[in-house]
Symmetry: C2
Subunit: 285 residues, 2 copies
Amino acid sequence: MVRDLSADLKACAINTATLGFQAPIKEVVEAVARAGFGALAPWRREVEGGDVPAIAKQIRDAGLKVSGYCRSTYIPANTRDGFRSNVESNKRAIMDAAVLGADTFVMVVGGLPLHSKDIAGARQQVKDATAELLRHGKELGVRLSLEPLHPVYAAERSCLTLTAEALDWCDEIEGGTLDPWLGVCLDVYHTWWDPNVLSSIARAGAARRIFNFHVCDWLVPTEDVLNDRGMMGDGVIDVKALRAAVEAAGYRSHVEAEIFSVRNWWTRAIDETLSITRERFATAT
Amino acid sequence: MVRDLSADLKACAINTATLGFQAPIKEVVEAVARAGFGALAPWRREVEGGDVPAIAKQIRDAGLKVSGYCRSTYIPANTRDGFRSNVESNKRAIMDAAVLGADTFVMVVGGLPLHSKDIAGARQQVKDATAELLRHGKELGVRLSLEPLHPVYAAERSCLTLTAEALDWCDEIEGGTLDPWLGVCLDVYHTWWDPNVLSSIARAGAARRIFNFHVCDWLVPTEDVLNDRGMMGDGVIDVKALRAAVEAAGYRSHVEAEIFSVRNWWTRAIDETLSITRERFATAT
């Protein structure tokens, strides 16, 4: 049975990027709680340098969960020092994720180092770093969620693109386990086009590795592949079918709206965006 | 042994899109032959409505081959009539490909019909049409080359994205055969990010299904995913490694430069672009 999100707003999460970083995290937490959602996923830019325990307490007191903490520092680097620096930055972020009580630390792994053409080398760096960060995450009680990104971002943001590849990495790094600490963040924007998306979802579910499920839509036309994502229902992604697949594969955690939209949603008042997102969770997700 | 393109310019082809459609096909043919290349791949916009046999004769007389004829009408449609119309349009184009003596008819298969979210349905339409067009191509002596496009084009240009999927379709439609009429057009722009690209190239070569090999580069940053491709060597694709893989898989036909570049190469004189392309075939391909 696919969950009825119109009756279960607590299953719905707001990734704060959806709101365009217009307000301090304190106001965002209040707005998300006021709108009735069950969780939010904050970004490091909203948290780092602030009073992290106080932010965590505010979120808890508002009755909200933290569905994920966004996101990792890009890992691949041209030098050993650069690589170590990126790993250490992620370790610090994972500590903040622990303080926040985040369900997962979302890993957008990074693309090619400057001037590099070596995507296989970049992938190896990511795997090495993930193995180290996984040990760190287990110690702190934070699960790591590898997010394969749409291949349009392969050069600059994520050498990890296919869901099947992310699952291969999970197996390679963690091995088979009943209660994994390493899993995947599935985002319809990044995965909808993949002819293997349904089989990969089934595989991920069977391995209990679906840690996050993000929704938005692919607009036609898309004016900017980075910041012109659509609200669920406004594009060509069969979001309902993908949610049904994810839930059929056993996923029961939050359905999270993450919409980068410089020309539309980020120009709107936060409460308006939250209200329409709530409606679209019910009608188009 | 990877071929030495600096000593084998006849192995190099120019896709006429690289020259920005600035001149009539007659002048383009003259310029490509004058520059010493072995082949060109014209577009239907340059050919249809013209005297196709005369164009074919000019190309032959200039000592050029036609590495491919670009490209298919998008196939998926919302209605049966729309689908039939698209198939018939492709049949006419395949007749022109035969007149041109084209080595292949390049198939960019199309994305989702207007307002559709049914990518699986679009793929089925493409497979059905390809089966029909393959029979037509065999009768006329024209090989069909399915071109998987980068997933960024999945919605609007090609529901076919992965090379492995294209090969699955070839097997499904044509079966195993020693001398296939259905194959794939591998373009580094569309495939470089794919973690399975090397295994897919090996599989395609073993099945003798690599019909075309297109080169260009992925610029960082890319300003426009449609028309901001780079010249070989100017971006992050390891073009040499991919050409080596394709040749190791047995490919011996043309290496074709296809560069959509509204802000750079299309603003240059044709002879200048051809001269630099020739140099980059030798140094960066």
